[in-house]
């Protein structure tokens, strides 16, 4: 095997590199011989044997589970809101650097192209609109974010839109309630992942500082918490949250909704992992920063909030994104406990007599969904990282 002295030069004419040395040629040939039949077999399977109708017939189940059909419009509004706010957040982060020149922006053009593509595809009008609208709203939000001074208002915007999303999905306050038992599919996956991520963040930061603290009791408590939760398999933590938590509540209290219990379990575990990441960032901050803050007479709390934390988080942004991806993937464990999230609903679809034995199609499909979201998270974090590095 030949190895680049990394990572300097990689010749653009890569076909030549396949056969530049005898060893490399051998490697390439063997590899091609192994991989070409494999790819053809998969392609033949995908085009002739696979029955993709299982996906089309159950698309509603995969997306929202058994969410009542008459309230689907609420979810559509929620998606639109999410798209708009997400676009605005994205745009305002980019703002000071890149003035809005839509025709020069590649992502904008791709977005428009996809939207146009959907518009001309042969689909039901509702499906077409519900795919097209979010894309256009992301683009609109992006434009707004780049042109208006929104950055300061982002936290408020986040809180308000988070609350309204919850309200739209769950109901109450004038809207018909939808029991959590009826939430499912991608909706439930995204909901649990997002809520547990948001909940785990403050706890994780507290634990990170706790473990760094000079106070022995605080340090010991944080360390034990972090090490125990990191040492246990998540499935065990979820079991405890779902089964033991009710046992720990006073006998007369009503039992918590299982979804809440499970989300708490996820968040508590994620917090332990997050704490270690944040601690890594804290340790990487030069001591001079702390000393400078002290010299200025800054209160310890403000030192943490204004000096240490922002720098630490910036340093560990890729690792944080990694934790978010892990959390997103581990929501699949909820299916073991009877929740109808993306994996759970797919096993329920596979148990339907009409779709027996369609495991490959379904698993590939939901695998692609998981992959797309993980990819999205890592791309956003990369671009945010570049942005932060630039602004330094």
């Amino acid at each position: 095997m030949s190895l680049d002295p990394p990572p300097l030069c990689r010749s653009p004419r890569w076909t030549q590199k396949l056969f530049d040395t005898p060893l490399n040629s051998l490697l390439s040939v063997v590899f091609l011989m192994a991989i070409v039949p494999g790819i053809t077999a998969v392609l033949i399977w995908a085009t002739t044997q696979a029955q993709w109708s299982v996906l089309a017939a159950n698309v509603k189940l995969f997306l929202v589970g058994r969410y009542p059909v008459e309230w689907l419009w609420r979810l559509r509004i929620a998606v639109a809101l999410l798209a708009l706010v997400g676009g605005m957040a994205w745009g305002s982060v980019q703002r000071p650097q890149q003035p809005w020149q839509p025709l020069r922006n590649r992502s904008f053009l791709i977005g428009v192209a996809v939207a146009v593509g959907i518009a001309v595809m042969p689909m039901v009008l509702v499906a077409k609109l519900s795919l097209m609208l979010p894309i256009l709203l992301v683009l609109l939000g992006d434009g707004l974010g780049r042109n208006l001074p929104l950055l300061r208002w982002l936290p408020l915007l986040g809180v308000v839109s988070g609350a309204s999303l919850l309200w739209l999905i769950r109901g109450g306050l004038g809207l018909q309630q939808v029991a959590t038992a009826n939430w499912g599919g991608l909706l439930l996956t995204l909901f649990t992942a997002a809520v547990s991520l948001v909940l785990s963040f403050p706890l994780g930061v507290l634990l990170a500082f706790g473990r760094q603290s000079s106070l022995p009791v605080l340090r010991l408590t944080s360390t034990i918490y972090i090490e125990v939760l990191r040492g246990l398999p998540l499935i065990g933590v979820l079991f405890m949250a779902l089964v033991m938590l009710p046992l720990l509540l006073p006998p007369d209290w009503t039992r918590p909704d299982p979804l809440i219990a499970a989300t708490l379990g996820l968040a508590m575990t994620a917090a332990a992992y997050l704490a270690e990441v944040v601690r890594g960032g804290l340790q990487a901050i030069p001591r001079g920063q702390l000393e400078a803050a002290r010299a200025l007479g800054l209160h310890p709390v403000l030192t943490i909030a204004l000096v240490l934390l922002p720098q630490a988080l910036r340093l560990v942004l890729p690792a944080l994104a990694g934790e978010a991806i892990t959390l997103f993937k581990t929501t699949t464990l909820l299916s073991v406990f009877g929740f109808m999230e993306l994996l759970g609903i797919s096993s329920s679809v596979l148990a339907n007599p009409d779709f027996i034995g369609r495991h490959a199609e379904v698993y590939l499909f939901i695998g692609a969904i998981y992959w797309a979201f993980c990819y999205l998270i890592s791309r956003v974090s990369q671009s945010l990282e570049n942005r932060l590095l630039d602004s330094r």
């Binding site: 006073p250 006998p251 007369d252 039992r255 299982p258 709390v301 009877g338 109808m340 148990a351 034995g357």
Partner: protein, 365 residues
């Protein structure tokens, strides 16, 4: 002195307001929690909150069920539940809340069904649970009347040529964990000294998928469950169920032990379904019979006279409402498992005692 302290405190607060404010919020939270707890516990020992009040207050019955087995508990893509287990839940919901739709079904895996009932996360479990002494004594489930007398069966593929237990020697058998069938299987094969390879799964779907894909030579569960699952396989006619019955599997709904009233409600709601069949009262004719019957037993049963439900904390006509909305036992059986269902399972021992079966309701008196 006091002035000085307050002054100091104020200085402290003004200088480190976020910290102190946070501390105060936390402290007051803890204190109010403690106070709330105090309130709760002060009333607790004398009269624990009864499950009935809790359900009424919630306005919804939480019922644990499998959601995976046609005829017993099956949820269609639209989210509609149907089946024998489901109808038992609906009957209890009618008795308590007078609405068969005020039930929240929770799908429970095999491992969660008992822990959920132990912890009070669900009000009723109706999930093909076999009544056993250890479940009553060690796990703490209080069972209602038996709603289905079943037995454990074994299903194999027809072309495998396996016909009885002895020819299963050395073969692999798929079984779901946490079931009595898992334990019976071990016992029965040990008794007969037949070696076998158990392949155990946590979920029912996985168990039957593995069987269908050829991982196992046989699969085992309750016989009616096998019939139901067979209907879900790709080619139901290619699978045969042994004539041998491995064990008694009396299936019953259950509640958490320790709440006598709630257990009685479950017991007598189920009894009412059986008694109604004995009286010949159906959802169609219940109103008519209530209006016209002169039989004091029937009149008492339907709440036209007397107050049979009062002792349970229910209305005196609870049986009538249950039958009106859910039907009697025969109606429930026929539409889910029997003649009016695709499964076409004979009633066998699940006939009334008057017809030579085992169903027998104590008198409503």
């Amino acid at each position: 002195m006091l002035k000085k302290v307050t002054h100091l405190l104020r200085c402290k607060i003004s200088r480190s307001s976020p910290l102190v404010a946070g501390a105060i919020v936390m402290l007051s939270g803890v204190m109010s929690c403690a106070a709330a707890n105090q309130q709760q516990t002060s009333t607790a020992p004398s009269s624990p909150i009864r499950q009935l009040d809790r359900v009424k207050q919630r306005g919804q019955l939480i019922c644990g069920t499998s959601g995976k087995v046609p005829g017993f508990s099956f949820v269609d893509p639209q989210g509609q539940y149907s089946g024998l287990d489901v109808d038992i839940c609906r009957a209890v919901a009618v008795a308590v809340l007078n609405d068969s739709n005020k039930v929240e079904f929770r799908q429970l895996g095999a491992t969660q069904r008992f822990t959920s009932i132990q912890t009070g996360s669900i009000d009723v479990i109706s999930q093909m649970v076999t009544v056993t002494i250890s479940r009553q004594a060690a796990v703490g489930v209080a069972f209602g009347p038996i709603v289905l007398y079943d037995g454990q069966g074994i299903m194999v593929k027809q072309r495998s040529g396996i016909t009885d237990l002895a020819s299963l020697s050395g073969k692999s058998i798929c079984v779901q964990t946490g079931s009595t069938t898992e334990l019976n299987l071990a016992d029965q094969f040990r008794k007969r000294n037949i070696p076998y390879q158990p392949v155990v799964f946590e979920s029912r779907d996985a168990t039957f998928t593995a069987y269908e894909q050829g991982r196992c030579d046989a699969v085992t569960t309750d016989r009616s469950g096998l019939v139901a699952q067979r209907s879900k396989l790709a080619n139901p006619t290619e699978h045969v169920i042994f004539a041998d019955v491995l064990s008694k599997e009396p299936l019953a709904p259950g509640v958490k032990g320790g709440d006598h009233q709630w257990h009685s409600i479950l017991t007598w709601t189920v009894n009412a379904l059986i008694q109604a069949e004995e009286y010949g009262i159906t959802s169609q004719n219940v109103d008519q019979i209530a209006a016209s019957s002169q039989d004091p037993d029937v009149r008492r049963f339907l709440g036209v006279e007397g107050n049979i439900g009062d002792g349970l904390g229910l209305s005196h006509d609870f049986a009538r409402r249950v039958i009106k909305q859910v039907g009697n036992y025969a109606e429930i059986y026929d539409r889910n498992l029997g003649a009016d269902s695709p499964l076409q399972i004979e009633r066998g021992p699940n006939q009334l005692w008057t017809k030579g079966g085992l169903l027998y309701s104590p008198p409503f008196r």
